[in-house]
């Protein structure tokens, strides 16, 4: 499991639309790699204020890494981050 922030100037929606190998879906620990945006999925029921205190902002991306080849996964992330600018 890894979480990271998209920097200012990167569009989260564009990022999600461009994913080819990762599924944009809740949950974690599967054989397939999943990407979750906690602020709108797993932690949506938390108040915005509490989310902000914890750093769960809309640009926080959570990654559950599956069994695919790591270079293929990195390639997908690189192309999608580039496209989200």
């Amino acid at each position: 499991m890894i979480s990271f922030y998209l920097s200012d100037g990167y569009d989260t929606d564009k990022f999600l639309q461009g994913l080819k190998l990762f599924s944009f879906a809740e949950s974690l620990g599967g054989a397939e790699s999943l990407i979750t945006i906690p602020s709108i999925q797993t932690h949506h029921d938390m108040s915005q204020q509490r989310r902000n205190e914890l750093g769960i902002t809309d640009n926080l991306v959570r990654v559950s890494v599956g069994l695919e080849d790591k270079d293929d996964l990195l390639d997908d992330l690189k192309q999608v981050i580039k496209g989200a600018k």
């Binding site: 190998l21 599924s23 879906a25 599967g30 054989a31 397939e32 790699s33 999943l34 599956g66 069994l67 695919e68 080849d69 270079d71 293929d72 996964l73 390639d75």
Partner: protein, 378 residues
Amino acid sequence: MTESDWTKLIKSTTKIGPLSGAVNTPIQFSSTFHQSNFDQFGESDYARSGNPTRKVAEYAIAELENGERGFLFSTGMAAISSVLLTFGQGDHLLVSKEVYGGTYRLLNDILPRFGINHSFVDFSDLSAIENSIKKETKAVYIETPSNPTLAVSDIKKISRLAHQNHLIVIADNTFMSPFLQKPLELGADIVVHSATKFLAGHSDLTAGGVVTKTKELGDQVYFVQNAIGATLGVTDAWLLLRSIKTLGVRIQREAASAQAIAEWFEKSGKKVFYPGLPSNPGYEIHKSQAKSGGAVLSVDLGSKEAARKFVEKIKIPVFSVSLGGVETIVSYPPKMSHAELSADDLAADGITPGLLRISVGLENADDLIDDFNQALED
């Protein structure tokens, strides 16, 4: 982007469900499919001809073998039978003398009734293959490594010879799985599988697979699949999809353990059959066409008595037919997988009375070696 096999294993088995977005393929329990147009039928009409769940799994095995079309059957024997029934009256097949007992039975006792005859040939001898080609010969049938003596056939050289003589090359890839060996890339035209083994991997179902290199061969196999109808049910197709996702992690670890166990048996002075051992006559050829020696080895303990004693003393493995499961399986080929063979054929194929076949599972290799060690002690 060319994806590695690790990625293919996941991507080809994870087809997002179009209705709900389900990450796993829905199991479609439907034998028949409503047609919304009188003149033009939809993709599915009747489940023997094609079911959406089975189709995803068929697509997955075709992707993994790097072939054009994939087909799934209820067992490996159903798959092999369906491929061999693309031949007909008067056709002749050249078959590796070391084939699985069920394939041997099919060739000897069923196919001749339809006028499909064969010769068994030592496939380690290219000139023997060449000299056995008759004008009626239509195909060569390879099984490498073979069951249970792990004999290696050179897929590339045999395919080249076969193609020079306009023969189709069929390869049983059960022992390697597409993760370790891709016969179509080495020249074969059709790959067959007992998907019961490594592809399913959990000793929980029977299934068979066929992948063809071309659409034309695929059309011929499809015709028989639909006509005879020995197709895989949707629950098993789904379980197979689920299992293929972990094929890489399973077989990579199982093969590493098998290598260690084979080396250990050899060091203890036993006769070991394993293509990952440099002492094996097929070692170099195998190394050139497969990623590792795989997860199955055989060992000759010298006598039936010694084999019986070993089986009675081992504590970790199960003693049963089959291979390719997550649990280590020890079997006794003369009375199990190869019980169909006559005493003469058993002897000719090196299936001696002391031969045990071991399919290494996911347990710790050192634990298995300790167990085998105590079983060998007097």
